[in-house]
Subunit: 712 residues, 2 copies
Amino acid sequence: MQRILIFILSFALITTVNAQQHKSPNGNFELIFQLNKGIPTYRLSYKGKPIIKESKLGLEIKDMEPLTGNFMVADTKETTFDETWEPVWGETATIRNHYNELLVTLTQENTKRSMMIRFRVFDDGLGFRYEFPKQTDLNYFIVTDEKTEFAMAGDHTAWWLAGDYDTQEYDYTKSKLSEIPSKMENAIGPNASQTPISESAVQTSLMMKSDDGLYINLHEAALLKYSCMHLELDTDRMVFESTLTPDAVGNMAYMQTPAKTPWRTIIASENAGDILLSNITLNLNEPNAIEDVSWIEPVKYIGVWWEMITGKSDWAYNQSIGTVKLGQTDYSKYEASPRHAANTTKVKRYIDFAAEHGFDQVLVEGWNEGWEDWFGKSKDFVFDFITAYPDFDVVELREYAKSKGVRLMMHHETSGAIRNYERWMDQAYQFMVDNNYNSVKSGYVGDIIPRGEHHYGQWAINHYNYAVRKAADYKVMVNAHEAVRPTGLRRTWPNMIGNESARGTEYEAFGGNTPDHTTILPFTRLIGGPMDYTPGIFVMDMTKLNPNNNSRVRSTIARQLALYVTMYSPLQMAADLPEHYEMYMDAFQFIKDVAIDWQKSLVLEAEPGDFITYARKEKNGERWFVGRTNDEEKRTSNINFGFLTKGQDYIATVYSDAADASWEKNPAAYEIKKYVVNSKSDISINCASGGGYAISLVPVKDKKETKGLKKL
Amino acid sequence: MQRILIFILSFALITTVNAQQHKSPNGNFELIFQLNKGIPTYRLSYKGKPIIKESKLGLEIKDMEPLTGNFMVADTKETTFDETWEPVWGETATIRNHYNELLVTLTQENTKRSMMIRFRVFDDGLGFRYEFPKQTDLNYFIVTDEKTEFAMAGDHTAWWLAGDYDTQEYDYTKSKLSEIPSKMENAIGPNASQTPISESAVQTSLMMKSDDGLYINLHEAALLKYSCMHLELDTDRMVFESTLTPDAVGNMAYMQTPAKTPWRTIIASENAGDILLSNITLNLNEPNAIEDVSWIEPVKYIGVWWEMITGKSDWAYNQSIGTVKLGQTDYSKYEASPRHAANTTKVKRYIDFAAEHGFDQVLVEGWNEGWEDWFGKSKDFVFDFITAYPDFDVVELREYAKSKGVRLMMHHETSGAIRNYERWMDQAYQFMVDNNYNSVKSGYVGDIIPRGEHHYGQWAINHYNYAVRKAADYKVMVNAHEAVRPTGLRRTWPNMIGNESARGTEYEAFGGNTPDHTTILPFTRLIGGPMDYTPGIFVMDMTKLNPNNNSRVRSTIARQLALYVTMYSPLQMAADLPEHYEMYMDAFQFIKDVAIDWQKSLVLEAEPGDFITYARKEKNGERWFVGRTNDEEKRTSNINFGFLTKGQDYIATVYSDAADASWEKNPAAYEIKKYVVNSKSDISINCASGGGYAISLVPVKDKKETKGLKKL
């Protein structure tokens, strides 16, 4: 009798909790979780407007009953969390992590398996993930498909990248969601490694805007021990479904309970700038795992790099060597080609330039043996990461750099050969420690080895994190290129100071990025974390570097300066050649001045694909910097300086497009004007096509500084 | 004009050299190489009898013209080689490497690609391989199929294993070649990881006997940087064709010129014993690559092992822990199960026993965290190789073993998770060095990770060699189980002191090996190198160890002793429990006495599948040991002692089957008799079903020793 009573009570509990309403702390977001005939579903609205319509949740797992239905709610738990934490570096000195959590425990009626869905509703959106407690009948399992839906409330405008298991380096396409399939073919350009998914799969972070002006962003957070998610659109229903990255045998993820998936995130606002300032991605990651962070520091750097990217120089020591077998090919028998850039003499010039202008580091690519045939051969033992070319004197350069107060930045191109990199990793990092390097730019150009694996599969994702964790053991900071897009992991591993994971400045030398590219990236790629975009190109015509390269940077010089503010990163490169900077030393001053770690960040103006204007205050000082990136349209930016400390005068140095500037015809036409401003000032600045501006704001300490300057 | 003349001369040269006859130093073997309409072919005969009929040569490569035809002979070169070298350890103190070599350089007419075939004709057979010089149009290439044929001259009797990309642990099938397809299904038993190839693919080394009494063996040598070869039989033509092991995407091998394949070997004789004594496999490998070999030594060992194999004990510390996450599962919270064998107390007992009876080492399996769920889960981080269970005190045991003059032998089960093993390898070997281990038994049970790769593919083969080379850096000897079958690599890497790569003694506890198993292995598995067969089982009824295990060792005790002589290995285990040896200390004496490194080895009697009798002289001494392994038939062995030093008397201790012995009914019935013998003596010994005998021969130093002994 007692048992029957318990059963009835349980049943009552189960039925009453089937629909769960759950709001954000500020009440703007409402999540509704509901079991619909045993299928878990959720809906999300913002200020009463639907963002996600009823959408199914669940996963399919190998050789077992799918975790998509037959569920009952065994338990629900609501909690509130509010903390403020300090990132080691970032856009703001502190970050508030405030959410209401709903944890739903589901039990599958026939299998008795348990799955939990944890929802966190923030003031700026929603994160949720699946969790699998350790249990008798679900220990090890293989995810064959994730069936998470994101049912859109309308045929939004989207800025999207073609879904691909191996590259994020496509141009953005702006279209209605319904137009994605028809525009997919054009959206897929050539790449060094690519595996497009389907005619309707796109990448995250996906930025959208509804017809009634809501900005919506879909991404993921804390992508660890799982494969990367893409979104496959069912255009009939206007529903995205998660589609994961398969491994060599077609499986998506290997799990052992207790286990959890990455978070799926939805950020939304009627203000575009709120998307840019959202900290949901970071907040959904685990706190810093590195005890001593004293060795982690933002880095401003130059590098022996752009001249190879443009084709002016070579990574290879001597291309005539042909194929190389490391340890067998005797480089000492060959003369260095005059095209080999990474030689001791040139690197010293770069070190001198860095020291003179206050840069922390000098990246050198092409310093190590193997560049004669490193790409496209599915070559396993492609680099050893410790053997320099004969004309690159490691010890001499180490000592020279030390004497100048500069460090070299290491470069580890892996060519996608992950096994080989892991085999050499300890030696490679130790070599760095021995030679005074504390940061590495790593690269994964080309198809992944083990063959059949993809850049965004669980195997590679495990590796990227392994590389970052191992680097931490050696106090090494990592800037991984061609790795999976970031998902906020830098909160946990703040030595992950950069990533590429999108078309960076290098594409300006490969035909050019679209002029609006940098007005989209902060809404998409940067939602997950900083990008090593490598801005600062001053000479836009590539034929000046390489007569055979007809590319043209689609930017004015003024906008190049703006990117140091708009493209947040603790790692900022001045990517052009020293001799090019020497042509424009007045403009270069901004790059020298600009901070790379911030107390505060504000978005003054923003519209994806059109323009973005940021104002940021440096972390340990009182200077502010403003940057504006503009698309191909000529536009006027009107901002006010209300963010400045009240009652304090500042000298504003404005680097803007000249009246006749345009990326196409006159990119070098800039003006530099100084004003005195305070919190009541405002300014109106014309932005050229592909233009923008940068402003430095330095508090006036002595009235004399303002002499002769116009007050705004 | 001059150019035309050269062309004509070249052409003349090409046509005349199309058929190349080439003999072994003793003239017994004749190889004929011939281009047949542009297709390279070879034939091999022995004393005028065809062994290999006209067989095609070549390979198919990805996205390129196949290297199978359209060839012309650009050059041929004949050389003779004769050297005698000393292996670090082996069946003989010196090995003669004597061959006539024919190097054929082929050029493909349409592609201008060059391929060489190097033939070495020895007095006991042929080895040949493909070589690819560095050349403009053949740098990196992918082998998609090797088309090497071995055209048999008749429907031979063969002792074969089912072809499989992941296991060699099948029972041998004896059949006519033509019967292979019909017997394939039965030839494939269950295995922890298996990928059978086809109904007509078999493994090498393949042992055959022709109707007219020729013994023929096909295998490969120096399998490095390539995938393992199987033989696919075309029963209509009685032609074997090489079939390689694919990788995760179906490719067979990734090559960079200059490159070479492993050698394909054909050993033949009218005497079965000549096959056993052939050194072709070793001679076709590169010389020793390890400069200081002082730390490499043969090892006689016991181990905490058989009790787990039989199911008497567990590897796991406590099975109730269920699934494990290394570094998270807190073992200190759990009591050790009484079934956990690898505990400090028990290991000390083994150390005591080893010290008392002169064994060098004690293997301990199940000493490290993770055994609760190590198998069949495709678990990547399955072991860390450095974290002991709470009841296994590494330091205490290290010191205890040292005090007794014994070493522990390390165990690294990888569960096939190669990436994980490589990640931990340096730490794992360093842990060994720190704790006085100098040898490791490694294991690759289960499917390989990276998933889609196979145990015998190029990826895994690269790994096995990497593990051996890295071990050498730490002065560690390696005994890899479930790795690819050996192909003589131990010549180059003499720290590779053992391998499994076939059904060993453990299968006696998994249902039993066939009684003739050990009369076949020396003709097949051991052609490539020594096997860690782990003989020495004295208690044959497994229910004595585990009531639930009905297996029965299909051997008499006398034959168990014989295996120390017939199954050559520098690594010999006494696999049974100490308490079982204590029941038969008189028989155990042979295991204590027997040498494990040899000056000379002779085959006194041999017939594959029936019986083998070896006589071997120890390396640094005057003792001889004889061993005879017998199949399921009762047989009489008649041998003479002509191999003994003339004029020297020896005390022969003969451990033989008692009259009523048989593996099935009375395996423990043995007799030990002592005689005085000299080089003129002979003896006739009855061998039981599943029986055999062992003899130790110790030179008489003092006449008194012979007192009361019968002189033969």
